[in-house]
């Protein structure tokens, strides 16, 4: 009974307070001050949203197209609030439309990130060993010239239909919609992964008010990830 009440309490707090985090992981080079996250180039958010119903799933691409930039805005604002500088309009939709080779480079880097993140999601602690790198191809992005780090933001949401929610409640399966946001900071020179976190929300609020859903939790996580903290000065 006690365990059941705690589960209910956790569920209620997620609903009321917004997002929760699965724990930030940082590279020792960031902790030692050898690297820092002070000038960030935020890449366009890769967002995916699916509807899950009793007859399977279906994509919600239009909704995802609207949601993605909103998540990007929240991440950008929270980074800015830490004192770090965000390079403005680094990879806008207009720029990408006008420059196909830039769009191809971004696509390639995002895919490379996907290949690394598949392992990063499984073993996030290996980030401490410096296991994950995107290589110096990151310098192919023009904003890498001004930035010390790149922020890859991926967001995924599963929206449950009424039927699926009812079914989930009956069989003790998932009965609420869920959203996950992954933020990974990568060194803009070497491509080494510097910090990583995953935050999530339960319920449908993430769609109506992404700022409310993610601001607090991301602020806490970015603090742990030393975003905006000055690195150690290099010895001359």
């Amino acid at each position: 009974m006690k365990a059941y009440s705690s589960v209910l309490a956790v569920g209620a707090s997620i609903t009321v307070l917004g997002g929760l985090a699965l724990g930030a992981v940082t590279n020792p080079k960031l902790d030692s001050g050898e690297k820092s996250i002070r000038k960030v180039c935020v890449l366009p958010v890769e967002a995916e949203m699916n509807k899950s119903g009793m007859k399977g799933g279906e994509g919600m691409t239009k909704e995802a197209d609207e949601w993605g930039p909103k998540v990007g805005d929240v991440v950008t604002k929270v980074i800015g609030a830490t004192g770090a500088e965000v390079i403005p309009g680094a990879l806008s939709e207009e720029q990408l439309r006008a420059n196909d080779s830039l769009r191809q480079t971004l696509l390639q880097l995002n895919q490379k990130y996907d290949s690394v993140s598949a392992q990063l999601h499984k073993n996030p602690k290996d980030l401490k060993k410096g296991r994950y790198t995107l290589g110096d191809e990151v310098a192919l992005l023009p904003c890498a010239a001004q930035a010390d780090s790149l922020a890859f933001v991926h967001a995924k949401a599963t929206v449950l239909t009424g039927g699926k929610k009812a079914f989930g409640a009956l069989v003790a399966g998932p009965s609420r919609s869920r959203s996950d946001v992954w933020v990974t900071f990568v060194d803009a020179k070497s491509g080494e992964t510097l910090a990583y976190t995953r935050v999530f929300t339960i319920g449908d609020r993430f769609r109506q008010d992404p700022a409310k859903a993610y601001t607090n939790v991301l602020t806490k996580e970015f603090k742990k990830m030393r975003v905006g903290v000055q690195g150690a000065k290099k010895k001359k």
Partner: protein, 450 residues
């Protein structure tokens, strides 16, 4: 009228409709709300593929695909809600797929595998049939009725996890997965055996109509059986015994369609049109940890145009990317156990970790040295053909840097920076590498005389 008459009449009607279905007589397709929903999804997928930059933009190549298809389609009107469009997608996965709205996509990976126009026609003919005979709608309706759909959909949802070694490999499927699961299910796992057989059968007819030698179809299937890489997931094209059965059936069908003078096709003419897409695909193979495939394709390009420095550079890049890997899989790797082991490693290790493991093997270091020598030879050959070809200097610089020949690497990078256009996207990357090398050279002091 006896009481039996209505029953007999309805029985007769059943037989008649069954007979018509058997003979393949066209039946009007009635759209249901479920079909309309699917149509909406695939139209959205068209937009997403375009938006993500996955559609390969080459007007000449697109026109070529359209011409090949038009030859087979003739002047027959497109079915309701179908607007045929033939396009190429940037994905090294050897695949092609059709959407019920008439959009037919051929991956660069498949284009790079095919040998001539007739083989391309066989792929398009097969896919056109899926559209004209409404296979995706039928498949969708059937899946929705079955519990198996749940399993297929959950497998499709995990599609992202299939390609963690991914890079650009499977990029299209991961976009498609977020829009239409039915389509990904059809593309990865195929339609039902009956629908696939129908597409092969009608495909052979379409090829004959377009004056293409239908014997190209079984040859296409044989090409798809190439096993240079252990793929994270096997698409239906490559699963046995289905593939063997399809080769046998289409060989028989093609044999009975003997054309007197089929359209002449040649590999040279085909390569002249697809070389750009092939070069792109070699690059995509390389970033997707498919160096063996990249090597095989680059070798084809070099055989076709040995004096083209770009072809030589791609071949050299492929040798360099092989590192400690052999150019072809060994027997152990091809065994069932070996394949499973390799697949597991691919999912678990990063590219750098994989190379380190290979170097621990007895032949690893020997293989790496040999591949590096081959790469150097090809880069130098490319420079000999055209000393102003910037990419050859960049690749050579990277090779020397990997071998810790820092002075040589710095020289080649400088040459690259002199030759590359001012707005080259990788200028910053090479400048940074050069800066690091020069620093290391200064720290080490003047080089000792040889």
């Amino acid at each position: 009228m006896s009481r039996r008459t209505p029953a007999l009449a309805s029985l007769f009607t059943c037989f008649l409709s069954a007979a018509l279905a058997q003979s393949g007589a066209p039946q009007a397709f009635k759209f249901t709300p479920v079909d309309a929903k699917l149509l909406e999804e695939v139209n959205e997928l068209d937009r997403q593929l375009e938006k993500k930059g996955l559609v390969y933009q080459d007007p000449e190549l697109t026109a070529y695909l359209n011409n090949v298809a038009t030859r087979m389609l003739g002047d027959q009107p497109a079915p309701e809600q179908v607007n045929f469009k033939f396009r190429v997608l940037r994905d090294p996965m050897v695949n092609a797929f059709a959407m019920p709205n008439g959009s037919i996509y051929v991956h660069t990976g498949l284009l790079a595998t095919l040998e001539n126009e007739a083989q391309l026609a066989s792929v398009l003919a097969h896919e056109i049939t899926h559209v004209t005979q409404r296979h995706t709608y039928q498949h969708n309706r059937s899946l929705r009725k079955k519990m198996v759909a749940m399993h297929v959909f959950s497998a499709v949802s995990a599609a992202g996890g299939f390609f963690p070694a991914g890079s650009l490999f499977g990029a299209v499927l991961s976009v498609a997965g977020s829009v239409s699961q039915v389509l990904v299910a059809a593309s990865v796992f195929g339609y039902s055996q009956d629908l696939e057989r129908a597409a092969d059968r009608n495909g052979v007819d379409l090829m004959t109509k377009g004056n293409y030698d239908a014997r190209a179809m079984p040859r296409t299937f044989a090409l798809l059986d190439e096993k240079l890489e252990i793929e994270p997931v096997e698409t239906f094209w490559r699963t046995h015994p289905k593939l063997q059965e399809r080769i046998t059936t289409t060989t028989q069908l093609a044999g009975s369609q003997g054309l007197k003078e089929p359209r002449a096709v040649s590999e040279d003419a085909y390569l002249a049109l697809v070389a750009g897409a092939m070069r792109y695909n070699i690059g995509a193979d390389l970033v997707s940890r498919r160096a063996r495939t990249a090597l095989a394709r680059a070798n084809r390009l070099v055989r076709w145009k040995p004096d083209d420095p770009a072809n030589r550079v791609l071949l050299a890049d492929a040798y360099r990317a092989l590192g400690a890997k052999t150019a072809e899989p060994g027997q152990e790797e091809q065994s069932r156990h070996g394949q499973a082991d390799h697949r597991k490693r691919l999912l678990k290790l990063t590219a750098e970790e994989e190379q380190k493991e290979l170097l621990k093997k007895p032949d690893g270091a020997v293989e790496r040295k040999a591949n590096a020598e081959r790469a150097e030879k090809e880069y130098l050959e490319s420079i000999a053909k055209d000393s102003s070809f910037a990419e050859a200097h960049r690749g050579l610089g990277m090779l020397y840097e990997e071998q810790s020949r820092n002075a040589d690497a710095a020289r080649e990078y400088k040459r690259y920076l002199d030759l590359a256009p001012a707005d080259a996207l990788d200028r910053l990357r090479i400048e940074r590498r050069l800066e690091k090398l020069e620093k290391s050279l200064v720290d080490r002091g003047p080089a000792k005389p040889a």
